[in-house]
């Protein structure tokens, strides 16, 4: 790295010629290395500290008991999911972490299942509503899911009414549900990446 300077330096450890150049190089490299090493410690530590969020696990993916199968109807109902939320250093109990729709579905064989949807619109993240709205396919007013932001309409099973014309690239995000032997309904709460055709948890 070092180049012999035009002015002849007379250092205590200086030498002449190639040997001097090599020596200077070595010394410089050593010095630079030491300086870098000295600075590397705080930089490494600081970077690790700053990048901490990457190594953290959020609340998403946790199961929450929301209702019992008996209490559900076939009309979707909104459920607010709460948990102890740790915000940096402080922990607040019973904070809202998300809203989901939950309904009961009676299968053809008569068995009953619980179906859950994220209330976050897969298009751009608005809160999807449920209520009377115009079905764009038929022009009739119907009880459907609809997004107030860009007007996407979804059937009760989460499918887009007009897949071709929808803003959203995919249907509403269903969530995994589980019903235990005593009929309690658990929902695995997750958030998904917005805007993609594929449903990818974040």
């Amino acid at each position: 790295m070092s180049k012999s300077s035009p002015q002849e330096a007379k250092c205590c450890c200086a030498d002449v010629g190639d040997a001097q150049g090599r020596r200077s190089f070595c010394l410089s490299a050593l010095g630079l290395g030491m300086g870098a090493a000295a600075l590397a410690t705080p930089i490494y530590a600081g970077a690790r500290m700053a990048l901490y969020p990457w190594s953290q696990v959020g609340l998403a993916g946790k199961e929450y008991q929301l209702s019992t199968l008996d209490a559900l109807s076939e009309t979707p109902r909104q459920f607010v999911i709460t948990d102890n939320v740790t915000d940096a250093w402080s922990t607040e109990p019973n904070q809202t972490i998300g809203v989901v729709y939950l309904r009961k579905v009676v299968n053809e064989d008569g068995s009953v299942a619980a179906v859950a949807f994220q209330s976050v619109c897969p298009h751009a993240g608005c809160r999807v509503k449920f209520g009377s709205t115009k079905n764009p396919a038929t022009g009739e007013n119907e009880e459907l899911f609809f997004c107030p932001c860009h007007g996407d309409v979804f059937y009760l099973d989460g499918e887009r009414v007009l897949p071709e014309e929808s803003k959203s690239a995919r249907s509403m995000d269903s969530l995994e549900t589980r019903v235990d032997e005593s009929g309690r309904v658990f929902v695995k709460f997750q958030n998904f990446q917005l805007g993609t055709a594929e449903k990818k948890p974040v």
Binding site: S2, K10, S28, A45, A50, S90, T91
Partner: protein, 1069 residues
């Protein structure tokens, strides 16, 4: 190539690069530049780490400590960043100070380097200010108190002081707060940090200029030779030796800083001595004391090391005389001013000497003052060190606790970590105790074994109430159930009840004392009983156990005598045939008694056997009594027992006199005073037994202290209560005054859930409740009574109770015994512990629910039974009502019947009356008939009389004819007589006389009969006349009767009317 040119043209980077590569270092020896290089490096370190910290720091009173906690404990290597920042600042202060010092000593402050010196001085001052402001930022106890005092001094400045202070603190109130933090952050980063950067640049620039001047004009003879030499040296390429030395300096500086960062974990001993509940980060980097709690007094509040000299100076007596303001705002500024003037003063040689000497003197003073300050704090010889160390320990306790709680599952609330500390019984308990309890109660370990690291000890100078250390433990309770310790200062000794409190009296006189009392037996006779207490403790003991012992003897004898071998011996002793030698008999006796003794001893030694004897009496006491019994029986007694069948009975009957020393009993006659215990035989055994029972009670109560609430009654028993608990407390007569399960009593404290957390909450809230001391409460205030003023909040009472009963969050152990520990260990451990706790809680909850269900079921059953009973009662009532209704109906019917009856009776009476009337008339008729009959009879009688008279005439006629016949006969006979013999004449005469006589008699009789008949007829006539009169009277009577009947009929008619009215009324009803 074009790109390089393009880039160079626009940015000059290439040129800069080649300049960088060809960088020249100033000539001269490197050692003069080592400190400046180091300072620059340190500055870079601080800037770098400061920026990282800035990214996470939150300057507000409720989040500053929390965010620093987050940096220190949660973020990976946050402790390192913070440690480097903190210690590099300290090193910077030290080095910049040293640098200024060396500049003066070396004379390098003089021209042309004045500005170099001044900028270095400014840098030093800025670094001090930076430390001062940075110290507060974590909002930790130590930083807060150190800064607070120093900033508060601003108010001392006359005139503008208060305004200045408000400006710095950021509010009108003299309290530090969020605004202070934002201000200090601004000052720390922008003013002092930024100012430092500018000064650093200027300093470098001035240094560069000074060299230039020195090199160009060698006319500064006052310049230190070294500097001149340096300046005269030609520059040399940096990228050689210099680069190496600079690198080395950086590394060395960094090493020093890291050394400081790891100073608290520098050796394996220190690592091994870490508090197991704290993560390793607590021992790495800069210390973080607890969050600011303005209410605490932080006795160890001291300034940073760099201000220690000033601190000592400000404490010099002179300043307390002339005013603190001089120490802070006059002397130091003057000194600073003098330092600033140094280059001017030092122009002359003399001036330089003055400067050097003054600086040296100043350095000595600073070092000395600082040393003194540390000496005072740390030397065991100094007076303040104890309080300083205590303050440090207290602060450390709070700091450690804050960390433990912050890692607890609940985490730090939005209101900040201080809330955690404020709600924490472990920290608040001692403070509350100190404030509210320690004026009467001691809180210090009664003995070394009882000392626990969990508790701080609180000393009361003049205790007048029990020592509450370990108040929930069996050991503590035992102090109160032992007659020897009860009056100790740790128990009731210091209280108003020390000598004549009920409990002390009871224990001394009753439980462990003894006297003879006269009691009544079942028949009302006086019985002398030996009792440990008037309430009958020993009486109970002797009675119960004596009889138990006799039972044992009986059963043992039966078996014993049944054995063949023994039977033989017995036969030998009895010697029925009289052919056994006396010696053999004696020997057999001895043998037999020995065997019996052995057997009994074995029996009584068998704890199980003893325990089964009498479940009412605690086993140890029973055992003691059995052995007492054993001792009372001498060989003679055994013999009696063996061969005299009544002996056993006599033991039973004689009130067990044998079990108490006879001599003793004799002495007792007429002596009512309690007997000194030592004079009692066997009393030691008895007392040991009682003491064991007392200890048992302490254990039972210690179990109560662990409860949440008094035990519920399930399945016919108190849940989890030791089976002997109730009987043991009863046995010791505890329940005479105290409430316990199944006994309600308000003479003394309730012993259900005694000393448990909830019991304490209620007790502290209001000890005057009847279930506690009631009216007997000594001086203890009601801290949170249901009515009236509260001295503590509910929360405080709860915290105190939690603390006293040892119920607070306990942090799990953390893997921290390696240098860096395990990252995230604290959180993981607390999460694991929480999971475990939740599981346990779930189990407990399930158990509780089950129990609740059971209780509910039992309650339901009870209610059902009650309902049934109620129903039965209702039915009964209904039945009764029905019966009543029935009765009423019956009554009504009866009334009706009565009416009917009355009517019938009336009818009958009427009939009877008419009958009677008829009858009367009939009778009248009959009577008339009778009269007629009587008249007829009279007539008949008259005719009869006539007939009788005619008959009588007939009879006279007949008699005359017969007389004639007889006279004829007589004459005939006279003739015959005359004819016949004279002898017959007398006979004849006699016969004639007889005949005459009989004739006369017959006549007489006939006359009488006729007369009688006449009288009878006359009588009959009279009777008939009477009958007639009677009949007339009867007729009269009947007439009146008829009248009366008529009136009765009238009355009955009236009654009928009445009854009818009544019926109509009844039916209306």
């Amino acid at each position: 190539m074009n790109f390089v040119k393009w880039l160079d043209e626009r940015t000059g980077l290439v040129a800069a690069y080649s300049k960088f590569v060809n960088m020249q270092a100033p000539g001269g020896r490197f050692c003069c530049r080592a400190i400046p290089v180091s300072l620059v490096f340190l500055f870079i370190l601080q800037a770098l780490t400061g920026i990282f910290l800035w990214a996470f720091y939150s300057p507000s009173a409720t989040s500053a400590w929390e965010s620093v906690f987050y940096i220190q404990y949660v973020l990976p290597f946050g402790w390192l960043v913070r440690g480097i920042h903190h210690y590099s600042a300290q090193v910077f202060v030290a080095l910049s100070g040293l640098y200024v010092f060396f500049l003066i000593i070396h004379g390098a402050y003089r021209r042309p380097r004045e500005f170099v010196y001044w900028s270095a001085l400014v840098m030093f001052l800025l670094s001090l200010c930076s430390c001062l402001t940075g110290d507060l930022l974590p909002w930790s106890l130590s930083g807060y108190f150190a800064t607070f005092t120093r900033v508060a001094f601003l108010q001392l400045i006359p005139g503008i002081g208060v305004k200045l202070y408000q400006l710095v603190v950021g509010g009108p109130d003299p309290q530090f707060g969020s605004l202070t933090l934002t201000r200090f952050l601004f000052l720390h980063v922008c003013v002092f940090g930024g100012g430092g950067f500018v000064t650093l640049c200027l300093w470098k620039y001035f240094d560069f200029r000074s060299r230039k001047i020195l090199r160009n004009e060698a006319r500064f003879d006052n310049v230190h030779k070294c500097c001149l030499a340096c300046a005269n040296k030609k520059t040399k390429p940096f990228w050689a030796c210099d680069a190496f030395l600079v690198g080395l300096t950086c590394v060395v500086t960094m090493a020093i800083v890291l050394g400081l960062v790891f100073q608290r974990s520098c050796c394996s001993e220190k690592i091994a001595a870490r508090d197991p509940s704290l993560p390793a980060e607590a021992y790495l980097g800069a210390e973080l004391t607890g969050p600011v709690d303005v209410s605490t007094s932080f006795d160890a509040a001291r300034p940073e090391w760099s201000f220690r000299g000033l601190y000592t100076m400000s404490k010099l007596p002179i300043f307390s005389k002339i005013g603190m303001v001089y120490a802070i705002f006059v002397v130091p500024p003057i000194l600073v001013l003098l330092f600033f003037l140094a280059p001017i003063i030092g122009r002359s040689k003399f001036g330089h000497v003055v400067c050097v000497v003054a600086t040296l003197a100043f350095a000595v003073v600073v070092v000395d003052f600082s040393y003194k300050s540390y000496y005072e704090d740390y030397s065991p010889k100094s007076d303040h060190s104890a309080s300083f160390k205590a303050g440090m320990a207290e602060a450390e306790r709070a700091a450690n606790r804050a960390v433990e709680l912050a890692f607890a599952p609940a985490g730090i609330p939005k209101t900040g970590a201080l809330t955690l500390l404020k709600d924490d019984p472990y920290l608040q308990g001692p403070a509350l105790f100190n404030q509210h309890c320690a004026s009467c109660h001691n809180f210090k370990a009664q003995s070394e074994e009882l000392r626990s690291s969990d508790y701080v000890e609180i000393e009361c100078s003049e205790p007048t109430a029990p020592n509450l250390y370990g108040a929930h433990s069996a050991e503590w309770i035992r102090g109160f159930t032992n007659e020897n310790t009860l009056a100790d200062v740790d128990c009731f000794g210091a209280t108003a009840f020390a000598t004549d409190g009920s409990m002390i009296k009871f224990m001394k006189d009753n439980v462990f004392g003894g006297k003879i009392v006269v009691d009544k037996d079942d028949d009302g006779n006086d019985v002398q009983k030996f009792m440990l207490s008037p309430s009958g403790l020993i009486g109970k003991v002797i009675d119960v156990d004596g009889s138990a012992a006799v039972d044992v003897l009986e059963s043992v004898f039966e078996d014993f005598c049944g054995e063949e071998e023994n039977l033989e011996l017995i036969n030998t002793i009895l010697n029925e045939d009289g052919d056994v030698e006396e010696a053999a008999v004696d020997q057999a006796k001895v043998q037999l008694i020995a065997k019996l003794k052995e057997l009994l001893a074995a029996k009584f030694a068998d704890e199980e056997f003893v325990a089964e004897l009498d479940p009412q009496v605690p086993a140890p006491l029973l055992a003691a009594l059995q052995s007492t019994l054993m001792k009372t029986l001498d060989d003679g007694a055994y013999q009696d027992l063996l061969f005299d069948e009544t002996a056993l009975e006599s033991i039973r009957d004689e009130d067990y006199e044998d079990f108490i020393s006879e001599e003793y009993l004799a002495r007792l006659n007429g002596n009512e005073e309690p007997i000194p215990l030592d004079e009692l035989q066997y009393i030691d055994e008895l007392r040991d037994g009682v003491r064991a029972a007392c200890d048992g009670v302490a254990e039972i109560l210690a179990e109560e202290a662990k409860l949440d609430a008094p035990r519920p009654f399930v399945d016919g028993a108190y849940l989890g209560l030791a089976p002997n608990a109730i009987s043991d407390l009863d046995f010791l007569n505890c329940t005479n005054c105290h409430s316990f399960y199944g006994t309600e009593n308000d003479h003394a404290c309730d012993l259900r859930a005694y000393m448990s957390r909830n019991w304490l909450v209620e007790f502290i809230s209001d000890p005057t409740l009847p279930k506690f001391y009631g009216a007997k409460n000594d001086r203890m205030p009601s801290y949170h009574p249901a009515e009236g003023d509260a001295l503590m909040t509910q929360k405080e009472v709860e915290a105190l109770a939690d603390w006293l009963s040892g119920k607070w969050y306990r942090a799990p152990e953390v893997a921290n015994k390696t240098l860096l520990g395990e990252p995230g260990a604290a959180k993981a451990a607390s999460v694991a512990q929480e999971e475990l706790r939740q599981q346990e809680e779930a189990v407990a909850l399930a158990e509780r629910l089950e129990l609740d269900a059971k209780i509910a079921r039992q309650t339901a059953e009870r209610l059902e039974a009650e309902a049934k009973a109620a129903q039965a009662k209702e039915e009964k009532i209904k039945k009764a009502e029905e019966e009543k209704a029935k009765k009423e109906a019956e009554e009504k019917a009866k009334l009706q019947k009565d009416l009917a009856d009355a009517q019938a009776a009336l009818k009958k009476t009427t009939e009877a009356a008419s009958n009677a009337a008829t009858e009367a008339s009939e009778t009248l008729q009959a009577t008339q008939k009778e009269r007629d009959a009587a008249l007829q009879e009279l007539k008949t009688l008259k005719s009869d009389l006539d007939k009788v008279s005619s008959d009588a005439a007939d009879v006279q006629k007949t008699m005359e004819s017969e007389k004639q016949a007889i006279e004829q006969n007589v004459s005939q006979l006279k003739k015959q007589i005359a004819d016949q013999s004279a002898a017959h004449k007398a006979e004849l005469e006699k016969s004639v006389a007889d005949l005459n006589e009989s004739h006369r008699q017959a006549m007489q009789l006939q006359k009488e009969a006729a007369e009688q008949r006449l009288a009878a007829v006359q009588n009959d006539a009279q009777t008939a006349r009477d009958a007639e009169a009677a009949a007339l009277k009867r007729e009269q009577d009947l007439k009146t009767a008829l009248q009366r009947s008529q009136s009765t009929i009238d009355q009955l008619n009236a009654r009928i009317a009445e009854l009818e009215a009544e019926i109509s009324k009844a039916s209306e009803q």
